[in-house]
């Protein structure tokens, strides 16, 4: 067991940290305030090879691994939860399923530009009536000659307004239940496919979370991902990987909140001294950092397992469950330690708290994660 980062990981961390400090942090508050998707940051990340880290070079990726990729999500999220989830959703929910389940032609056509960052990806599973109950898919796909015709809608889709390529789940055979769901690669320009309203959210407000609307959308049959009926299983496996990314996002948000708080409590004075000198502050911070360190170990263990072809579904669920709950707790405490100032938008911790909440919900609620973990035990 080695609990230390390798030289390679240390150098990556240096890169991620510098990039985040210089490019992400300065606009984090602004993109939240304006609910603006940071296109300029995505462009810069593309230029530095940050949008296809764990994929082989022959598919346009950087030839790295999942630990390297989630480390990026963590670092980005320390300053900006929005930027972290943009990378996570793109990499784990769109690139990864094509890499893991796609044909060679699909990889060449879609994975290469996605991994290069030339195109942005998204993932459409959730529907108005199918959230935790993901099997209740109502979007339909009917084979007609050389195309599948898709009808239906998706909601709460991350990256939607700015994505070029979507992995969409649809029901091809209702009689077979979950085994009747299939996965498709859908391009944003397909006729009949439109992006619906943008959600006005509590947090990660720079992330474009929208509806997807399918009205007789013709999807070429070559774009069926995997085999008919395998869609649900592909979705579940994809979410297993995505969970590690979200866990890293939650982890980064929590650590960022702690770092801000440490700065603040050294400066803020009450009763004649800095509040860092009070034991309550010290004890709170100690608890917060210990929990975040524990979350970090869970996150990197899950990524390590995935990289080493060990089973990781359980580990990913634990990481996501724990990191997201810690993140909510830590950011809430961070606001509290900032006192009144923490409640204002002058300080970043209120945004971090708002951003943290979603990590307990999307890509499988905490409750779903508990289902996964207990299923492994019983």
């Amino acid at each position: 067991m080695n609990f230390n980062f390798t030289d390679e990981q240390k150098l990556l961390k240096k890169l991620y940290k510098e990039f985040t400090e210089n490019e992400v942090e300065p606009i984090a508050g602004e993109i939240d305030e304006e609910e603006r998707f940071p296109v300029e940051t995505v462009e810069k990340m593309k230029n530095n090879g940050m949008l296809g880290i764990p994929f082989p070079k022959k598919y346009g990726g950087q030839g790295g691994d999942n630990q390297a990729y989630v480390m990026l999500v963590e670092e980005l999220s320390k300053a900006c939860g929005t930027t972290g989830v943009i990378v996570s959703a793109h990499t784990s929910l769109c690139c990864a399923p094509i890499y893991e389940f796609g044909t060679e032609e699909q990889k060449q056509k879609y994975l290469v530009p996605l991994a290069k960052g030339e195109k942005l990806g998204a993932f459409g599973l959730t529907e108005a009536n199918a959230g935790t109950d993901a099997a209740g898919q109502q979007t339909k796909a009917v084979l007609d000659g050389d195309h599948y015709i898709l009808n239906g809608s998706k909601i709460f889709i991350t990256n939607a307004a700015n994505a070029d390529i979507f992995i969409v789940m649809a029901m091809t055979d209702k009689s077979k239940g979950t085994r009747g769901i299939s996965a498709f690669i859908v391009e944003k320009d397909y006729e009949g496919f439109s992006i619906g309203k943008k959600e006005l959210k509590m947090g990660i407000r720079g992330s474009a979370t929208c509806e997807l609307i399918f009205e007789d959308v013709k999807v070429p049959k070559e774009n069926l991902l995997g085999r008919e009926g395998k869609g649900f299983s592909i979705a579940m496996k994809t979410l297993d990987g995505g969970r590690i990314g979200i866990a890293a996002q939650a982890l980064g948000i929590a650590q960022g909140a702690i770092d801000e708080t440490v700065k603040y409590v050294k400066e803020r004075k009450q009763f004649g001294r800095s509040i860092a000198k009070f034991q309550n502050t010290q004890f709170q911070l100690a608890d917060m950092q210990t929990k975040v360190d524990a979350a970090r170990l869970l996150v990197y263990r899950a990524a390590f397992n995935k990289d080493n072809k060990l089973s990781y579904s359980n580990e990913a669920a634990m990481a996501k469950l724990f990191a997201s709950e810690v993140s909510m707790e830590v950011t809430t405490k961070a606001v509290q330690l900032h006192g009144g100032y923490g409640y204002t938008r002058e300080y970043p911790v209120e945004r971090m708290m708002r951003d943290a909440k979603i990590t307990e919900i999307y890509e499988g609620t905490s409750e779903v994660q508990k289902m996964v973990v207990s299923a492994h035990m019983l």
């Binding site: 050294k266 400066e267 004075k269 800095s274």
Partner: protein, 339 residues
């Protein structure tokens, strides 16, 4: 191997730009004179240029001798011609010590020369003394980004060479009665000595007051927060008759121009009063101002290292303290004027 006993005399390379002798050279003649007196030797100013103005200044500020290599080709600094001439001077006169200003010119010619004549060169010395035991030059300088001081010696090679930053040494008192003979040194600069070609000479004169000449500096750092807030410091400086300077952080953020940067990579200052506002006091900054006579620091963070260097430290918000200070100072000025 050179015989140390053959080498005598303290030489100072006199830097001229646009035919004007630079202040740093006068400062070096000051310390050069002290060292020479200690060694019972003379201090010689070595000047390279063409039609350089006010050469007599070198004598007024303490030079015992002046060696002047005058040639058109030496008017504007170029590495090889200067290195060649200085080598010839050194081979001819065999000085024991040669001092250079640590300037864009000094830091170019001194190492090239040291490499050519195989001797030791010590950069950015803040103190120069003679070792009483063996008459070697002891050169003290900051290292490790200014975090430690090192005393260097050059025991077996001659001349002992050192560079010193402008503003570190003090000029000797001016004595306009002192007359010094100018010894002309003949040179021959050939085409092959021009190892590069100067296509254009561009002057960028700034009208700002030189912070190294000011007696009072009101200095701002990251804590000032934004460029407009420097107005507060300007007000204080104005009332006190001082000048505004800044730390590197403010220059890197483009709030203040580089000419007013105090610190390791900026300028060294020793004013009578240095007021540090919103400056944390990183070692690199302290290196540039800790020799100030009186240091006042204002910073929100009570753990800021500047408080370890200040004579008076105020933990507070400069946005509140400076206006209050300005008010007090104005009151005092009015009271004085009323008398």
């Amino acid at each position: 191997m050179m015989d140390k006993k053959d080498y005598r005399g303290v030489f100072v390379f006199v830097e001229q730009r646009n035919k004007e002798i630079q202040n740093v050279s006068l400062e070096l003649i000051g310390i050069g004179k002290e060292l020479a007196e200690n060694l019972n030797q003379k201090v010689t100013a070595v000047l390279l240029g063409n039609e350089v103005k006010e050469i007599e200044k070198l004598g007024y500020y303490g030079a015992d001798n002046i060696i002047y290599a005058e040639d058109e080709e030496l008017d504007i600094y170029m590495t090889e011609p200067y290195t060649k001439v200085l080598k010839e001077v050194i081979e001819d006169k065999k000085p024991e010590i040669v001092l250079f200003g640590a300037t864009a010119i000094g830091r170019d010619v001194a190492p090239r020369l040291a490499g050519r004549i195989h001797t030791g060169l010590t950069a950015d010395c803040t103190k120069l003394e003679i070792n009483e035991d063996n008459n070697d030059l002891m050169m003290t300088r900051p290292a490790f980004g200014g975090n430690i001081m090192a005393t260097i010696e050059c025991p077996d090679h001659r001349p002992q060479m050192a560079t010193v930053r402008p503003g570190v040494m003090k000029k000797a008192d001016k004595d306009t009665t002192k007359r010094v003979e100018i010894e002309k040194f003949s040179v021959k600069i050939e085409e092959k000595d021009k190892t590069y070609e100067i296509l254009e000479v561009v002057e960028e004169k700034t009208n700002k007051i030189d912070i190294q000449e000011a007696n009072i500096l009101v200095s701002g750092g990251r804590g000032v927060g934004n460029p407009d807030n420097f107005k507060l410091l300007e007000d204080t400086a104005q009332i006190l008759g001082g000048v505004v300077s800044s730390s590197r952080a403010a220059v890197d953020s483009d709030w203040m121009p580089k000419e007013v940067q105090v610190g390791q990579t900026g300028k060294t200052v020793r004013p009578d009063l240095y007021i540090a506002c919103g400056i944390s006091g990183a070692i690199q900054h302290l290196a540039g101002m800790e020799e100030s006579e009186f240091i006042v620091a204002v910073n929100k963070d009570e753990t800021a290292p500047i408080f370890e260097a200040s004579d008076v430290g105020i933990v507070g918000d400069l946005n509140k303290v400076l206006p209050a200070l300005n008010q007090e100072l104005k009151k005092l000025k009015e009271e004085k004027e009323a008398l």
